[in-house]
Symmetry: C2
Subunit: 160 residues, 2 copies
DNA sequence: GACTATTCCATGCACATGCATCTAATGTCT
DNA sequence: AGACATTAGATGCATGTGCATGGAATAGTC
């Protein structure tokens, strides 16, 4: 079972081929619509992930996962949360999140501290620098979203 | 710039936080709609990729990337294409595609052969076994799509 | 025809991810 | 209290991916 994004790529989805569907061993009546929708979802995801990652990396030295964690923290009143809480809002495995937090901590953008009530847990807190970075990066992210979320889809993002 | 899926994960997207938007340094008027849409796209993609990969792996020993290549080839009249052609229809880098084809070849599902007209190019041809595997796996894929493409979204796919 | 630029694919390398596992801390049951 | 099960988070490991590069073949230029 795969899931999360590593470095993303680009590419268009063309290569049309006559596709009849609904043969004898088929699953349901019209799954071709599902397939079309699925491929569009893949293409959109690829395009956006690629563009977002490039823009964030180039402009703010942040990966998409890193930015997402910063964003979640920045949205909270006290700018901090337990790792387990963050995990619920990000599509990353617990281990991947642990490492993302590790990278953010090494960069000085968050701080890990022991949770008083539950000494197993770790509270992750956004630093001032972390908030600043997220604030700087936010317009970049929004711009990419605005440009590509509803764009015709067919152009690659290739080398930016 | 990240993009393509490695092993996918699951998780829900909750963690609601009061989000006002349109502060002084904002990009555009209402980007919160874009953000919502983007997060839904991410969640849907994560859910589907995770479920698809698990189902294909468990039932047919195929990764999502492998299945996609088989599917593209199976859709073609002669069940073969040059690598560069396949590359245009799949969201993988050229190198990743090269390795996917390598794995498929090692599994006996495709064959690589030199292209007569252009001796740089490689023609990839689906074997009978490859076609069979794709035919077997297809209902699995369609079923997952049918089940989850429009599902309420909020449940994880966790351990299958 | 010789030279250069370009295209096609494979591969070395770095890196992010998921799984399995480990340690520590809590919770539960008797 | 003691024993077992559960949960939180970190880490070893295997794997898949993208980038940079390389070698081979082709296309374009003079």
């Amino acid at each position: 079972m795969r899931l999360h994004s590593m470095r993303m790529h680009d590419n268009v989805a063309s290569m049309t081929a006559t596709k009849v569907s609904a043969g004898p061993g088929e699953t349901s009546a019209d799954d071709s619509a599902d397939v079309r929708e699925w491929r569009e979802l893949l293409a959109r995801h690829a395009d956006l992930t690629c563009a977002l990652d490039r823009a964030l990396q180039a402009g703010h030295s942040l990966g998409m996962s890193e930015y997402e964690v910063l964003e979640r923290l920045a949205e909270l009143p006290d700018r901090s949360a337990k790792v387990a809480t963050i995990a619920k809002s990000v599509h990353l495995s617990q281990s991947a999140l642990s490492r993302v937090i590790g990278r953010l901590e090494a960069a000085g953008l968050v701080e890990r501290s022991m949770c008083p009530e539950d000494r197993r847990a770790v509270t992750v807190c956004l630093t001032d620098e972390g908030l600043q970075r997220q604030t700087e990066a936010k317009p970049t992210q929004r711009q990419v979203l605005a440009e590509r979320l509803h764009a015709p889809l067919g152009k690659t993002c290739q080398a930016l």
